[in-house]
Amino acid sequence: MELTILHLYPDMMNLYGEYANVAVLRRRLEALGVAAAAEEVPCGGRPDLSGADLIYMGAGTERKQKYALEALCPWREDLRAAVDRGAVLLFTGSAMEVLGTSVTDASGRVWPGLGLADFTTVETEKRTPVDVVATPTLWEAPAVGFMNKCSLTHGVATPLFSALSLGFGNEADHGAEGYVSGNVFATHLTGPVLVKNPDFGDLLLRRLFAQKGWDLPETLPELPHQRAAYAVTLEELQKRSGG
C-alpha cells in the first residue's frame, strides 16, 4: 500500500514546527503497513497535485501567507480537481484563510482567495495568541492546541469545532472554529496539530483509507507517548478553561 503526502510551501508556511504533522502522519501510516511518500513543494511554479492523497499547508506570517496565496492562486483548478477526486486537504493556522474567497489585509487591500470554501477573512490590528480547547464536530475527545491569529473569518457554515471552551473562534471568543467540508479540513490551530491531537490523526487516517478503498483495522496503532502528552495538556488547559 502506498500513498503520497504533499507538503505545500514549507519554505513559506512553517512557522510553528508544522512539518511534524507530516512526520507523525507518515509514521502512523507506516505502522499500518502503508509506505507514505512525503514531498515538500517549495513556493513557486506549478505544483503537481495530480497524484496527491493528502495535501497539507501550515501557518505563515501575514506577509508570507500573501506570497503563498499569490503563488497558489493560478493553480486553484488543480487544487479543486484534487478535492473533487477525494484527496484529503489539511490547512492549518493562517493557511486556513487562503481557502476562502478573500483575505482583506490590515491596510484594507483585498486578496482574492482560492475559493474552495465560501468564507471571507479580515485581518485585524490586534493579535490573539491563545491556548485552545475545542469541541470537535467529527470526533469525541476535545481538541487542544494553540492559535496565534490576527483575523476574523466570516461565513463558515460547517465549522470543524462547534465551540471553544478556551480560545478565539472564527469570529468570536469561544465561538465555532475552523472549517470542514467532505475531506477538506481547516483550522486556525497552529503547529503540530496532529501531534497534539491523536484523534484528529485517527480521523484523517480513516478518510485516507476510505479514499484508497483499503480496509482499516478497528483499533489504530498509536505512537508511544502521544496520548499521555495529550492527556497532560488537556488537563492543564482545562484547569484554565474551567472545564
Binding site: L15, Y67, N148, G191, P192, V195
Partner: protein, 442 residues
C-alpha cells in the same frame, strides 16, 4: 512643576519599594500619571544607547556597561531588566536631579522589543543596537515579522542604528534610514555551505518574498545572503569578527584585536561584537575595550556550575519557546566533546504566564545530541511525554533516552549513576527546580 513632583514621587516610591522588596516599575507608573511626558522633559545625557532583539540583550548590555565604566563614564542602566516604559521611567527619574537633569554620561537601556515604541515616544536613543530577530516566545510575541513591525515605529531618523548585518530581517531596518553602522561575522571556521536547523527563516527574502541565496551560513539563517530578485543582501560590516576559532575560544576583531572567549558559544561572539561596535562609536579606545572583554565572564548567571553526586554539572540557560537558544546550547554541548549526560527539563513553559504550547520543541534540532560524547539523554518535567515523542523523531538510539515525571526523580537517578559530566538545558522557569537539589560552585 509637574516634572518636579513626578521625580520626587518616583524617588520616594522607589525608596519604599526597595525597603519592602517590590519591583521597579510601580514608581515609574505613578510618575507617568503625574507627568505623562516626563521622559520628554528630563534633560538626558549625550549618549543614549538602547539594545533590543530576540536574544543576547542582557549579556550585550552588561558588557557595554563594563566597557564604558572602565572608560571612566558614569553609566545608568536598567540592570534589573525592567525594560518596559514604566521601568525605564523609574530608572531615569530616580537618577535625575530635582531640577530635571539626569545624572551620568550614558543612559543604557535594554529595551523590550515589543514596547520600544512606547519607551521612545518622548526621547530617542542616539545609538540603537538590534541584535537579531528569531522565533521567540511566539505565544506572546506573534512572530519575528510582527516584532519587526513593532520595533520599526520606535526608530527616530536621528538615531544611529547598529545592526547585525548577518540577520536578513534585522538588516531591513536600514531601508530608508540614513545613519546605519553594521556589525558581522566574516566567513570562518564555523561557516557552512548548507543550512542547519529544523526550519529556515531566511529561505525567503523578507523584503520581496523571493528565494534567497546564501554564500554561507554561520548558524540557522544567520550568514551571507543575497536576494537575486530585489537585491536585499548582507552589507559589509563596519565592525567585523574577521577570524573565529570557537574550539580554541578565540576571535579576532577587524583583523587586529584578538579576544579570548570565556564562554565558547556563537552567542557570545555576536554579543561581544555588538558591545564592541557601539562602544567604539561612543569613542572608547580599542585597547581598553579589548582589556575589558578579553575572557569576560558574564555576571548574569545564564551559565551555572555545580556538583551532583559524583558528577560535575553545567546548566546552560535556554529560553523555552526559543529554539535558537536551545540550538546554540546543544551545539555547545556537542562541540565540547566530553563524555556526558544531558538533562532536558520542560515543566513550566513560562514563569510569567501560563501556556501549554509545545510546538517549539519541534523547531529545536535535538538531533545534535546524536553524537558519541553524549552517553545519555534524560528528559523530565510535566511535558516529559511531549519531549519523549519529539525525541522519537531524532536519530538518538532509544536506549540512550530515559524519562522521569519530576525533576527530583531525574536528579536522583543522575546522582546515583555514573560520573560523566552533566549538562542541563532548560529555562529560567524550570532551572531552580534542579539548582535547589545540587551543590552550587561558589
Amino acid at each position: 512643576m509637574r516634572l518636579f513632583f513626578a521625580i520626587i514621587v518616583c524617588k520616594l516610591l522607589r525608596l519604599i519599594g526597595k525597603l519592602v522588596g517590590k519591583g521597579s516599575s510601580l514608581p515609574g507608573k505613578y510618575a507617568l500619571k503625574l507627568c505623562p511626558d516626563a521622559l520628554g522633559r528630563v534633560k538626558l545625557p549625550e549618549y543614549i544607547i538602547a539594545v533590543t532583539g530576540s536574544n543576547g540583550k542582557t549579556s550585550t548590555v552588561e558588557m557595554i556597561a563594563a566597557i564604558l565604566r572602565r572608560a571612566g563614564k558614569t553609566v545608568v542602566y536598567n540592570q534589573e531588566g525592567s525594560n518596559q516604559i514604566e521601568g525605564v521611567t523609574t530608572l531615569i527619574l530616580c537618577n535625575s536631579t530635582l531640577g530635571g537633569k539626569m545624572r551620568g554620561d550614558v543612559l543604557l537601556l535594554e529595551s523590550d522589543e515589543r514596547y520600544a515604541r512606547l519607551s521612545f515616544r518622548f526621547f530617542h536613543p542616539t545609538h540603537f543596537v538590534i541584535t537579531n530577530l528569531y522565533r521567540d516566545q511566539l505565544t506572546r510575541n506573534g512572530h519575528p515579522e510582527w516584532v519587526y513591525n513593532a520595533i520599526a515605529p520606535a526608530i527616530h531618523p536621528d538615531t544611529t542604528l547598529v545592526l547585525n548585518a548577518d540577520d536578513p530581517l534585522v538588516s531591513c531596518f536600514a531601508r530608508d534610514h540614513g545613519r546605519v553602522k553594521w556589525f558581522g561575522l566574516e566567513k570562518c571556521s564555523i561557516s557552512t555551505a548548507d543550512h542547519r536547523g529544523m526550519y529556515h527563516d531566511g529561505a525567503r527574502c523578507p523584503v520581496c518574498g523571493g528565494k534567497m541565496d546564501y554564500d554561507y551560513y554561520h548558524y540557522e539563517h544567520i550568514g551571507a545572503y543575497t536576494c537575486p530578485d530585489c537585491g536585499h543582501r548582507r552589507r559589509t560590516p563596519d565592525f567585523a569578527v574577521t577570524d573565529l576559532d570557537l574550539a580554541a575560544g578565540r576571535l579576532t576583531i577587524d583583523g587586529e584585536t584578538e579576544i579570548a572567549l570565556a564562554f565558547r558559544s556563537i552567542y557570545n561572539v555576536y554579543n561581544i561584537l555588538a558591545a564592541w561596535s557601539v562602544c567604539s562609536l561612543a569613542g572608547v579606545e580599542k585597547g581598553l575595550m579589548a582589556s575589558v572583554i578579553n575572557n569576560y565572564i558574564l555576571k548574569n548567571g545564564r551559565m551555572v556550575q555545580f556538583t551532583l553526586g559524583g558528577r560535575r554539572g553545567t546548566l546552560l540557560t535556554s529560553k523555552h519557546e526559543n529554539s535558537v537558544a536551545y540550538d546554540t546550547n546543544l551545539a555547545y554541548i556537542r562541540a565540547a566533546g566530553t563524555p556526558c549526560a544531558v538533562l532536558v527539563i520542560v515543566d513550566a513553559i513560562s514563569r510569567k504566564y501560563f501556556t501549554g504550547e509545545t510546538s517549539w520543541l519541534w523547531d529545536i534540532d535535538f538531533n545534535q545530541l546524536n553524537c558519541q560524547s553524549v552517553r545519555q539523554v534524560v528528559l523530565c518535567g510535566k511535558y516529559v511525554n511531549d519531549l519523549a515523542l519529539r525525541f522519537d523523531f531524532t536519530d538518538i538510539p532509544p536506549e540512550k533516552i530515559a524519562r522521569f515525571d519530576t525533576v527530583a526523580q531525574a536528579a536522583e537517578a543522575l546522582r546515583d549513576s555514573g560520573e560523566e559530566e552533566l549538562y542541563v538545558v532548560t529555562c529560567f522557569s524550570d532551572r531552580d527546580k534542579l539548582l535547589s537539589l545540587v551543590q552550587l560552585d561558589q
